[in-house]
């Protein structure tokens, strides 16, 4: 009975091909929007997560606040050993002695003007030490990174991010050549491999020099960030507690610094992307709802048009239930087909968009199944009223209609 009812429904849908397609269009657009948006969002999440993990799995970032006014008020409470927000690289390096810390990279950062011949560029200058490469997980394309000796001897040597190397030297070999930073000559000793961008920011357009030299180039001794890597075996909670204590001791107030572990970044990110997915899914869900109303509209028209058919079917013995089932199966079939086409279209769109935007996309069978189930539910809900109208027709009245 059900399979024959399905065949009847398919016949009715096929008999009105264009109209059926237009009716399904609402559901098709809704489902494909759900699929495409969610797979793009999931793809973006996955790629960002993997980039963050690529930073180094035991990364801890300490940022000091540079606002001195808040620091002054807090300084009345305790007597900090240092001016608030004015950590030096030496302080940072002393963190190496904290149990659980593997490596420490102090960052004396600022922006500077780089020049090679007539080519100039303005970008980030990072004054740091040899640990930076390991903590931040950079690979060398050629040459070497900063060495402890460079730091100790205040050597004017620079390591270029891959993008900055291209900007300054073009296709020419940068290694061993001289460049100037704020007018001071430096020798290029290494070029890093490209790491791509994270959060829309390139990680390749900077120049790294010894922090000892950066202090004099930038004219500042304070550091903005400290990048630490933890021992693989370290208990992260204990370690962050110890670091927090130390920093409180130095800076007086928790408002003067922030300490972020990689797992915190990941969990913040995942809560952002979950919200993003919910919002996108919600918007797409609304279009699915609109599609459902389209189905209901057409089903009502169809019931009116086929009043006589319903009368004939009733006269030869179709029950209330049989008529109801016929129209419900028809709206379910419309919605279900719309769902299937929508999934196909949505995957195609997300593939094409993913390629065009250079973003990776993740096809989630769960999402597809959910979207299909939702479109069936839409077909059921919006098919009920037209179906019950059809089933409730009085046979004599229905037969009278021409």
């Amino acid at each position: 009975m059900l399979s024959q009812t399905f065949k009847i429904a398919m016949k009715a849908i096929w008999a009105q091909k264009l109209r059926s397609l237009l009716t399904m269009l609402g559901v098709i657009i809704g489902v494909s929007a759900v699929i495409a948006l969610i797979s793009l969002a999931q793809g973006a999440t996955a790629s960002i997560s993997s980039k963050i993990e690529g930073l180094g799995s035991n990364l801890i970032v300490i940022s000091t606040s540079s606002s001195s006014s808040t620091a002054l008020t807090s300084s009345t409470a305790t007597t900090p050993l240092l001016p608030p927000g004015q950590l030096t690289a030496q302080d940072a390096l002393s963190l190496t002695k904290v149990p659980g810390v593997a490596q420490v990279a102090p960052i004396v950062a600022g922006s500077a003007t780089f020049a090679v011949g007539d080519t100039t560029s303005s970008a980030g200058l990072v004054g740091t030490n040899a640990s930076y490469q390991h903590v931040m997980n950079y690979q060398l394309a050629e040459g070497r990174f900063l060495s402890p000796l460079d730091i100790a001897s205040d050597a004017n040597v620079a390591v270029l991010g891959s993008q900055e190397a291209t900007t300054l030297f073009g296709a020419a070999n940068a290694l061993g050549n001289t460049m100037t930073i704020n007018g001071i000559p430096f020798k290029v000793v290494g070029v890093l491999e490209s790491k791509g961008s994270s959060f829309g920011q390139s990680q390749d357009n900077f120049v790294a020099i010894p922090w000892t030299v950066a202090e004099s180039v930038l004219g500042q001794t304070s550091i903005s960030n400290i990048y630490l890597s933890a021992d693989a075996t370290a208990n992260m909670t204990n370690l962050t507690n110890r670091l927090n204590l130390k920093l409180l001791n130095w800076l007086g107030s928790a408002s003067n610094f922030s300490l972020t572990t990689q797992s915190q970044i990941l969990s913040t990110l995942s809560s952002i992307t979950t919200t993003m997915q919910d919002v996108l899914g919600g918007i797409a869900g609304i279009s699915l709802l609109v599609g459902g109303i389209g189905i209901m509209n057409i089903m009502l028209v169809s019931v009116t048009e086929r009043t006589r058919e319903i009368g004939i079917r009733k006269a030869i013995g179709a029950s209330h239930r049989a008529i109801m089932l016929q129209f419900l199966v028809e709206s379910l079939t419309l919605a279900g087909l719309g769902g299937i086409f929508g999934i196909l279209l949505g995957t195609t769109i997300s593939d094409v968009l993913g390629k065009a935007l250079g973003a990776s996309t993740t096809f989630s069978p769960t999402t597809a199944l959910l979207a299909f189930g939702f479109s069936l539910a839409v077909g059921l809900v919006f098919g009920l009223w037209p179906a019950s109208r059809a089933a409730g027709l009085h046979p004599v009245d229905a037969l009278r209609v021409e």
């Binding site: 030869i316 049989a322 046979p395 004599v396």
Partner: protein, 229 residues
């Protein structure tokens, strides 16, 4: 037990503020195997009577015993199974479904009875053979002549072996040749023991039946046997 017994059947419709009484107390009895023509001019109430006989509608008052069961007060949901099992309809305008071919049209009542697809096919084929359309199984209604369409409709009416066949002006839309063919089928079915009730305004057509019940202004005015020459 009579197959059909009508007892003081009344049917009225609201027309604005007035009640229009279309049937004013119709009583009659039909036995198994009878071939009865219900004759009357248009507006006599014969169509309304046919709807009630066919369980498409219920009377405002009176009793209708079909195979001993009073169906006069039944709800629509209880009438559907009666139509499905006890009655085969033949309409003036054929009322075939245009999207279905002859075989599918004839199989439809069996579908609603819950027969298997195989049984539907074999019984529908047999019914179409009976009306001489065994070679037109897969033709759509619009590929058939009027006479052929009406024969498909008759096959659809007899496919469930109902106790009663109700024909409403079955020759009304046909030329005389096709009409004769259709009447011939009814006569053959009657000879085989089938009860046939035919509604018509045409005296010549009515004379194919064994008995003519004449109805006028909602009342039975005559009931007479037909003597076939």
């Amino acid at each position: 037990m009579a197959l059909i017994e009508l007892d003081q059947i009344r049917k009225s419709y609201k027309m604005g503020n007035e009640d229009l009484e279309v049937l004013q107390g119709v009583s009659m009895t039909l036995d198994q195997g009878e071939y009865v023509a219900i004759m009357g001019p248009s507006g006599s109430g014969k169509s309304t009577l046919m709807h009630i006989l066919g369980c498409l509608d219920v009377p405002s008052a009176g009793h209708y015993y079909l195979l001993g069961q009073d169906v006069a007060k039944l709800q629509e949901s209880r009438l559907a199974p009666i139509r499905r099992k006890q009655i085969g309809f033949v309409f003036q305008s054929f009322n075939l479904l245009g999207a279905l071919n002859a075989l599918e049209n004839v199989a439809l009542p069996l579908l609603y009875q819950g027969a298997s697809a195989h049984e539907q096919r074999s019984r529908a084929t047999e019914a179409l053979n009976q009306v001489g359309l065994g070679d037109r199984l897969h033709h759509r209604p619009n590929q058939l002549s009027g006479g052929q369409q009406q024969r498909v409709a008759i096959a659809r009416a007899i496919v469930t072996n109902p106790p009663v066949i109700l024909a409403d002006e079955p020759t009304g839309n046909l030329d005389s040749h096709a009409g004769q063919e259709v009447l011939g089928i009814f006569s053959r079915l009657h000879l085989a023991g089938q009860t046939v009730i035919m509604i018509t305004h045409d005296a010549q057509v009515a004379h194919h039946a064994d008995r003519i019940v004449e109805i006028r202004d909602g009342n039975v005015v005559a009931s007479q046997e037909v003597t076939h020459a």
